[in-house]
Point group: D2
Chain length 301, copies 4
């Protein structure tokens, strides 16, 4: 369990004191506020703040004086239209602030999404905790044989055991030595900004991360995708659940037009039309490479 009693007490205190506001309130999101949803062995995602809801998307799209909603049905139709036709600015009018605890190698992928605001725990200034990501047995996989950038089957038996042992032992030893080096007990003590270089990439860090809904959807489309690395996908999945409660209409449109959608190239659309007219289309007469044809077949069958 990633939270100490003191941390849980701080969260409980925050949740016990509702205040009146004139701003838009999203009841589905209020229930998530401050709660730590566990991800991986020591990580979590917590909603710290949010701005806007489904109606706020419509309000901005209509540039209106009041709430800008007409009816729930009308609003949902507008939101689906905006998503379908790649209107991005109304979705930017909602904002989400998260507190995330995550392994450094996951943080390094995550930070590549540049249109967001980040405050990370500083290992120059502070001492990192002894917390490392050690994968569960069912998530220790072999290198994929078909995709350089992916995993194959779950490792079995002795090999899996050896991997686990290595990860645990190296983490522990590196952290012991980190502590030894920064200790000022009987020595000067190495600067933290230097000592941290001895820590492996499965150590946990944490940050505050703030992002607008348009850019969050972009993040989720890439990171909740089946090709994303498992260790970042579980964070994206957790955030998906929260967003579905926060802006249900926008999230529904996102599922239909982004997550579950397929982009077909000019060649694919052409083949499709020929097939619907009854023509027999093969890779040879498709104008596609073998790889593209394989991707096409996955879509249509």
């Amino acid at each position: 369990m990633p939270l100490s009693p003191e941390q849980q007490a701080e969260i409980d205190a925050l949740r016990s004191d509702p205040q009146p506001t004139l701003r838009t309130v999203a009841p589905g999101m209020e229930k998530h506020l401050y709660q730590a949803r566990q991800v991986l062995d020591h990580g979590f995602v917590r909603v710290i703040d949010y701005m806007g809801d489904d109606a706020a998307i419509c309000q901005a799209a209509r540039v209106s004086y009041g709430k800008g909603t007409k009816s729930v049905q009308n609003d949902e139709g507008l939101i689906r239209y905006l998503m379908r036709h790649w209107h991005s600015t109304p979705f930017e009018m909602c904002e989400l602030k998260l507190h995330v605890k995550l392994p450094v190698f996951v943080a390094r992928q995550w930070i590549r999404h540049r249109t967001a605001n980040v405050n990370e725990y500083s290992a120059r200034y502070s001492i990192l905790d002894r917390e490392f990501y050690i994968p569960a047995a069912e998530h220790i996989n072999a290198q994929s044989q078909v995709n350089n950038q992916g995993r194959g089957d779950v490792l079995q038996g002795e090999e899996a055991a050896r991997v686990l042992e290595i990860l645990k032992a190296d983490s522990a030893r590196c952290y012991d030595n980190y502590e030894t080096m920064i200790s000022s007990d009987g020595q000067a003590g190495l600067a933290r900004e230097l000592a941290r270089m001895n820590l492996p990439a499965n150590i946990y860090t944490q940050w505050y991360w703030k992002v607008d809904l348009h850019n969050l959807f972009h993040f989720l489309r890439l990171r909740a995708d089946s090709h994303a690395q498992y260790e970042i996908r579980v964070y994206a999945d957790a955030i998906c659940d929260m967003v579905a409660d926060w802006v249900p209409a926008a999230y529904g449109a996102f599922e239909d037009y982004r997550m579950g959608a397929v982009t077909m190239s000019a060649q694919m659309v052409d083949c499709l039309r020929r097939m619907l007219r009854g023509e027999t289309v093969t890779q040879e007469n498709s104008g596609m490479s073998a790889r593209e044809w394989r991707e096409f077949e996955e879509v249509v069958s």
Copy 2:
């Protein structure tokens, strides 16, 4: 008065219905929510939503589990430290959403600040209202003789009257012709996306504008500055008042370290030290150009 009774009624309705929330509430900002603060003759600025407060800046800087505040005094010290040392990311953790009505030539300056989210009223889709900015007599100035990019003295007498007359007459005629062209009364009616090209730059447009506090401070530093054009400065001044109520500690630090601050070049710092040691420094022995020396003298005298 820029708001119709219907618009005012919508605003009143929004202000009459407080909801409980677990999020951070900034009482100083709640009082501004939805209210239209008049700017220029037909423009306004309205706060539509906000995220965070002074404590949220500290909470993110400390990456803490709870509110992250220690004491008001501690927090203010931290905020001043962050501002003084150009830490930008904690200020990005606060967000502001405004509804602004403004002349097009002001909007064209404003939009140059790219790190913000915008939904503008569409003149492709909708018909613009007959509202034009006509300057008050005391804001009709001659071209500056010393600064190509600025104003000199207020115009007097006949010349001022002529300017006013021209602006009013051309606005009215252009709008009449805009209406004539789009009318479908006895004719097909010109497309709105084309007709709008006949409208001069003093017509009012409106938009939703969302920005984080760091980028808002950057906007305010440039646009609330005495060298900014008067017509955008009055918007920046109005926003300054709101921000001072929203995040008083951050705004105080902004005033001391940005608005009221002076950046001295390497040469200026050198001259300053020589002067404090009792040396007589003139432009000739300062290493500065005439222009830089003039700017230096303004600071130190």
Copy 3:
């Protein structure tokens, strides 16, 4: 013709003086450098500088020491893979700088693309030229009846003539009055920053615009689209021609996977599969709204 003899002479001088460089050179783009390609009646697009070529995309994707190319065929395959799978960062490694002259109402759409660098001619500092966009007769259309945000048929006869007359007369009168107001002949002369508000949105402005290839493709996908307003589409079309000469492999991938591609929603993919299995699918049993169904039919038929 938009260029004066002096301007053409400056361009000719720039084109007459090749210099040796060790950087990547794209021969297809060298021929465009500095040339003004006319767009609309007084506008143009000119390539001022560029960085990178097709091979530079591969070099960055492979993070290699040398050119990073393997063979032209290999490179093209990689570029198509990157485009198909939404890898954006390698395309960001190419950069284009343009000088564009365009009507203000087009500039207002264009500037909404925020991830770019812009220096616009300043009407605070300088006097604008007397150049206005007056549409050719075949581009004066009625408001669309089916799409609020679009054009219908070309206007005919008297109505078209009336529109042209209005646009010309109002432009001329507004500019005459602009000149009258800023004149310092026998009067103080109104500040330029104020006088400009009298100028309608069809006046030409100009800017330097610099953008990376990924964001340029995003711009082109939206603005070279058939739903974009004609007056910005012609600029996008002109840029497409230049990009096709600059990075032919990347442009080809862009055409196949973006411009000519179709994104199908989860519902559309489902219907497609049913149709390919021989099922008769109608809007009623499709799970789509009437509007979505119409868009689907356009794709598959």
Copy 4:
């Protein structure tokens, strides 16, 4: 020495083949192209491409048809004016592309500068080399006693030796185990995307990094500053040397108005004026906190 003979041969090949171009050429930068400037024990910075020069800054600021230069002196004056008055967009018209090899803990600081383009070597896809940053003896410092976020004195004797030994031993062991885990010799072999988590933060990575001159100056101001961590400062210093050769006028202005400049708060300016009038000002009557007063004294004495 960080480059293999093959890598050096690739670089030599690139430098042996100048091509004619009509673009702006900066001779001072041509000499750096592709050369690997060593930084730290195994790192480097290499210029891969550049766009623009000092004249290109002026050309954009003047939105001109030709080169936009008037005279070298005129241009330098304009560039200094633009820098002094915080005009950012003309500097964005120059672009630099670097290939950098750097330890992961340096990369983590560097990537916080979001307005740049990055392609990093992928440890999901490829195997990382056995190269770790091991500080030279004179750069192994104790934790600072006055600044949580900094270093104190150089470590001496046995303690320094112990630190070095730990860093070397842990790096070697972690890399040995990384190799053991991914090996497919007699076992399936762990996925690379998992195995990398065992590698400490002093391992080297590399990336292509592209940035405009305005944002590069911002990076350099923060990272070439004496308060920046030594290990990133040496990269910034290396880049400063290259930029000084590339855009000498802009770099000179940057040195005078950014690197060597001092920002004085409203209170500091007030005290300064009092001191110049002969008044004795102390912290007590200065209106500054003890910390601000200390920073003030550092500037003026």
